[in-house]
Subunit: 362 residues, 2 copies
């Protein structure tokens, strides 16, 4: 807090690197664009916390409109959101084990924190935890719609689990989750749309079968930044779990050019040698699952190697001490590495936002 | 602290996953093996903090013997080591910019914290910071011995920088650093040894040239876990900056089978589907630069996909709730993701050690 006070209003030059920098205008433009895309439609956005792990960004997303609540990838993220005042969370993943199910139940004392399930054992322990805590936990059955990760098959398997959830005291069957993660990064928009429709068909069919069997389905949740415009238009889909649209990264920029890159990594050149420069961030400060970061404002420059604390940049005229801005290929894992983001506008530090969810906290 | 007290002595089953687990006997065996390898030789080990980022492990390394001090990859790590009582640190990297050079100088008030340099601009600002703080900063000129990252060329370029350091008030020319990072992972031991000798030749020649020119060289520092046995035997090399030997990982185990894997990631199975299981860690909890993690004790099992919060494992008979132990391919980036390590012996939690250096803290 005192560090924040001493930084606000200062020029960006005082930022010590490597540092995560947020462009607040780009963030607001992205939130507005997503909200407008859903205005007047029955489907809502449930923004994913995992892409930024910052409660302040989550509140901005809630304020932008067209919102169902927040999506989290794990229990610890949900705890941080609820502690920060978020009142409606879906943990879009399984929460397994005695301690974690107990903590999930406790969260439901002051908020609505739903969870995805795909096994009988997990349903049983969630019910036990809910009864112990004297709460009801809302549950979505996770359906595998082609990604081959978590989730049971659409159709009878899903109906069977839904029946068990409905029959389990302490749990409330709220609906289905299906994530078309295998489609979100398909470069060709038409091919992507086709794969989305193909994936979502069995999910919405299963919804209708559940309703026909007398099990009301409040929520069918799925989708992401790569598929929001097609998934969000399919009848029977209630929520799109888009995350990356808020801050964006180099990988998503290729499939979603309509959103602006709002998050960058500010670095300093620490060494200049024949033909290349070295900047002071590496794989411990920038997520490289989708390749090395790009150099902002310098299309002629290229990161050719990433070590733990160094990136090697060719094609850049630089001196030791120069600042270089990088665009991560993968923003989600980048935010996971930092404790704070500098909000910078017009060359000045406007604010410093904590990244409550960073690090592998169980 | 109170969390630690409540956990010590409890069975490992209470550990909430994903969690970093340390085998203290394997750690001690690794430290002893490295110390014995250097006993009676002029060369010392300067263990690298970057591989574990844990001050408690650093102190164990210091206590094991044959030690020159600790190596750090960045200023923030050096600050954590000094705050934790380490008195001799080399930052094996450039520390650039007004604030960072000021902080480095301040560290030298109560400890010896040397730094590598490879540019005139950086030497000038380090001298300025040292004079302002009224301290002397010990400096190693970094020499590029084939890795093509930081460092100037061996020979005249290095001599020229050494002369400038010597002439800069506030700085003390202490010697040279050269890291044969391009050789440390070469699978064939003989080829690796040959490349080490080739890389180190120009470095030790430059040392002799400096001494012939009247510039005493106290320290020539380089090497790593992959090359410690050859680099540590070369005349004119004073320190080996080995790091990974302490905790090890799957990648280094291939080139260094004599050290034991002391660090693992404990996970829980959260979903079991036809032909595979999903465990509750992903790229936000295990460093995958050198490939997916291996499954400990189950050579028949294989991690075939890593998402942000999931690994997909084939060939493993498992139920939801089962524990699965993973061996990271890359330990350095794995420790960077956790705030603590559970020390587990005989199925009981012996201690919980903070990982002070984790996260991208500038």
């Amino acid at each position: 807090v005192s560090e924040r006070r001493s930084l606000v209003g200062k020029p960006a030059e005082v930022i010590v690197t490597p540092a995560l920098v947020l462009d607040p205008d780009a963030l607001e433009a992205n939130l507005t664009l997503m909200a407008e895309g859903f205005r007047g439609r029955p489907c809502r956005v449930r923004p994913h916390f995992k892409g930024h792990k910052c409660v302040t960004v989550a509140h901005r997303q809630l304020a932008a409109g067209s919102i169902a609540g927040i999506t989290c990838a794990k229990l610890a993220e949900a705890e941080q959101c609820v502690a920060g005042g978020v009142r409606d969370v879906l943990v879009a993943n399984q929460v397994v084990g005695e301690e974690k199910t107990r903590r999930l139940a406790a969260l439901n004392r002051g908020a609505t924190v739903r969870v995805a399930v795909d096994s009988l054992d997990n349903i049983a322990e969630l019910g036990e935890a809910a009864r112990q805590a004297n709460v009801t936990i809302g549950v979505l059955v996770e359906v595998d719609i082609g990604m081959a990760r978590c989730g049971v098959r659409p159709g009878p398997e899903t109906l069977a689990l839904a029946e068990v959830v409905t029959a389990t005291e302490g749990l409330r069957f709220d609906g289905l989750q299906g994530y078309e993660g295998h489609a979100v990064m398909i470069p060709d928009p038409e091919e992507r749309r086709r794969r989305v429709v193909e994936a979502m068909g069995p999910l919405t069919e299963t919804r209708r079968a559940l309703e026909a069997a007398g099990m009301p389905v409040r929520i069918v949740s799925g989708g992401g930044t790569g598929t929001y415009d097609s998934t969000g238009k399919i009848e029977g889909i209630d929520e799109v779990q888009a995350g990356s649209y808020a801050l964006m990264d180099a990988a998503y920029k290729k499939v979603r050019p309509e959103f602006a890159v709002a998050r960058t990594v500010l670095t300093t050149v620490i060494s200049v040698q024949d033909g290349y420069a070295i900047a002071d961030v590496g794989s411990k400060g920038v997520g490289c699952e989708f390749g090395p970061p790009s150099v902002a404002d310098h299309p002629e420059a290229e990161v050719v190697k990433v070590s733990e604390e160094h990136v090697k940049v060719v094609g850049l005229r630089a001196r030791v001490g120069d600042r270089v801005t990088l665009i991560p290929s993968h923003g989600c894992t980048t935010n996971n590495l930092y404790r704070k983001m500098y909000v910078v506008k017009g060359g000045r530090i406007e604010d410093v936002w904590p990244i409550e969810g960073s690090g592998c906290v169980e």
